[in-house]
């Protein structure tokens, strides 16, 4: 008798778990506005990528054409496949001392695997991941970019 009771319990439990699954998929089915698919070329104007999306490495500049990069080269060391080359130079500060500064932050987009290690390693937060993803070009030399804008310099108060 106990066995029969167990048997009936198994049947009801089984049906219950199946209904739980159907409830979840059903909730997806009947809420079509929650779909994740993007109709890409059509919604190109309004498409907003997600915050954590890794499109490319960029170096933000403020309105005075200043960035946060000290030219320390940690990002270059951290890059697993050599996508980043740092060319630094020395500049004279106001009190006559020599100081290292960034000359060219070269970024090879064609080699980048978007692993995010350079962004994590950067001590001053000078480079971040941008949201641009339409990277197709006719000439692959265009994939080598210099991230710091011409004539830019380091912002005041950035500690080494």
């Amino acid at each position: 008798m106990n066995g029969l009771f167990e048997y009936i319990k198994t049947v009801f439990k089984g049906v219950g778990t199946l209904l739980t699954g159907m409830k979840i998929t059903g909730s997806y089915f009947f809420r079509p506005w929650k779909h994740v698919t993007q109709q890409y070329p059509e919604n190109r104007e309004t498409l907003k990528m997600f915050d954590r999306f890794r499109g490319e490495v960029i170096m933000p500049h403020n309105e005075n054409n200043e960035h946060l990069c000290t030219g320390c080269g940690i990002c270059e060391l951290n890059c697993p496949n050599g996508s980043i080359e740092i060319i630094s130079m020395s500049v004279l500060t106001e009190d006559g001392k020599k100081k290292r500064a960034i000359d060219k932050h070269i970024y090879h987009l064609g080699m980048c695997t978007f692993c995010n290690l350079c962004v994590k390693a950067c001590p001053t937060g000078a480079i971040i991941m941008g949201q641009e993803f339409e990277h197709a070009v006719w000439d692959r030399t265009k994939l080598t970019k210099v991230l710091n804008l011409p004539g830019s310099k380091i912002a005041q108060g950035v500690k080494e």
Binding site: F29, P32, K34
Partner: protein
């Protein structure tokens, strides 16, 4: 030739009479067979294509995707494009296949599908054959399909095809029992195996309401076993993409593959149509005992619309199963059938007999 969307009996009778006036009886028979054949062919091709489209859309919706969107408005022409592609593909015959059986298998499956379609009552008077053993005929004929599957797997000279076919054979043979027994439960209530009589008997209340608890259990069992009969997920281990590439139709290409594909979807339609005919009142409108005005409003909707609405609902339910539940293992499938469905079914038949004997139904 009067056309009445509520009753097709007069229309078909008038057609028959006017054919008989102009032609010999032999010619009449040939012409009528041709017309019916063309209708079924068109219906199977178009409805099969629509079902493939519906399946892709429903599956996408369950997975928070959108499905085909590019070919035609909301991807409506997608399956037609796919079908044209399949028609243009080369028919490859692999080395070492049993040529005769290999070419025969798709036709056996298609023939089984066609034969099962023949007795389905679409509306009043829209039924090609009205056997007095209609239900028995459907279960008998639909199990011919498994021979086609076994032949396809055997003749393909491919171990995966053979494994798939054998799994399918074991599964269909087991679940055939549940399908038949759940139908037997309803035959006890209906008192007839003739499909037109079964539908007629549901004028006041559909059998699922009339037979209440045992009918509901039989309906659930029929749905489960019917899903297994058609080799659809979660019972699709006969094709098990991840293990057997595509099971018994791995080696088929082009239109032969399309035959298997169409037959699978039309079999789903047949299972849904049988469920609708036996449990959900066929083409009968929804009636509640004493609500006269409600019943009149329901009568206003043509039977064909009722039939396809209900079939659509059941097909949606079957798709819901497929895209929710993970695939069962072979031993789990057989356990489900022999340890759960079959005993429950037998007890259910007893219960239904008691209900009918004591007239404890609506």
């Amino acid at each position: 030739m009067g056309f009445n969307i509520y009753d097709f009996t007069g229309m078909t009778h008038n057609m028959h009479v006017s054919f008989m006036e102009h032609m010999s009886p032999l010619m009449t028979t040939i012409v009528e067979w041709t017309i019916i054949g063309v209708c079924y062919l068109l219906f199977i091709a178009l409805f099969g294509l629509f079902l493939v489209y519906a399946e892709r859309k429903v599956c996408a919706m369950f997975q928070q995707r959108m499905g085909p969107m590019r070919v035609g408005y909301w991807g409506l022409l997608q399956t037609i494009a796919d079908f044209i592609k399949l028609l243009m593909k080369e028919l490859i015959t692999p080395k070492g296949v049993d040529k005769f059986l290999y070419n025969l298998a798709p036709f056996i499956i298609m023939i089984a599908t066609f034969m099962a379609m023949a007795v389905l009552p679409f509306a009043k008077g829209l039924q090609t054959l009205d056997f007095d053993i209609g239900v028995f005929y459907v279960t008998a004929v639909s199990s011919i399909g498994v021979i086609g599957i076994l032949i396809a797997g055997w003749s393909s000279n491919n171990k995966y095809s053979l494994i798939g076919a054998m799994r399918s054979g074991a599964q269909i043979l087991s679940y055939e029992l549940s399908v038949s027994l759940s139908l037997v439960t309803m035959i006890i209530l209906a008192g007839s195996m003739q499909l037109s009589v079964i539908v007629e008997g549901q004028r006041d209340a559909w059998f699922i309401f009339k037979g209440h608890v045992p009918a509901l259990i039989a309906f659930v069992i029929f749905l489960i076993a019917g899903t297994a009969e058609t080799n659809r997920g979660p019972f699709d281990l006969a094709e098990a993409e991840s293990e057997l590439t595509a099971g018994f139709h791995t080696e088929y290409s082009g239109i032969k593959f399309a035959f298997f594909f169409l037959a699978e979807y039309i079999n789903m339609f047949i299972v849904a149509a049988m469920a609708v005919t036996v449990f959900l009142g066929g083409w009968m409108p929804l009636h509640f005992g004493s609500l006269e005005s409600f019943n009149h409003v329901m009568d206003f909707i043509p039977p064909l619309v009722w039939f396809f609405l209900k079939v659509g609902g059941v097909i949606f339910l079957i798709m819901w199963f497929k895209w929710t539940f993970p695939r069962l293992r072979v031993d789990q499938i057989l356990t489900l059938e022999w340890k759960y469905l079959l005993p429950i079914n037998l007890v259910n038949i007893l219960l239904m007999s008691l209900v009918v004997l004591t007239k404890f139904h609506l």
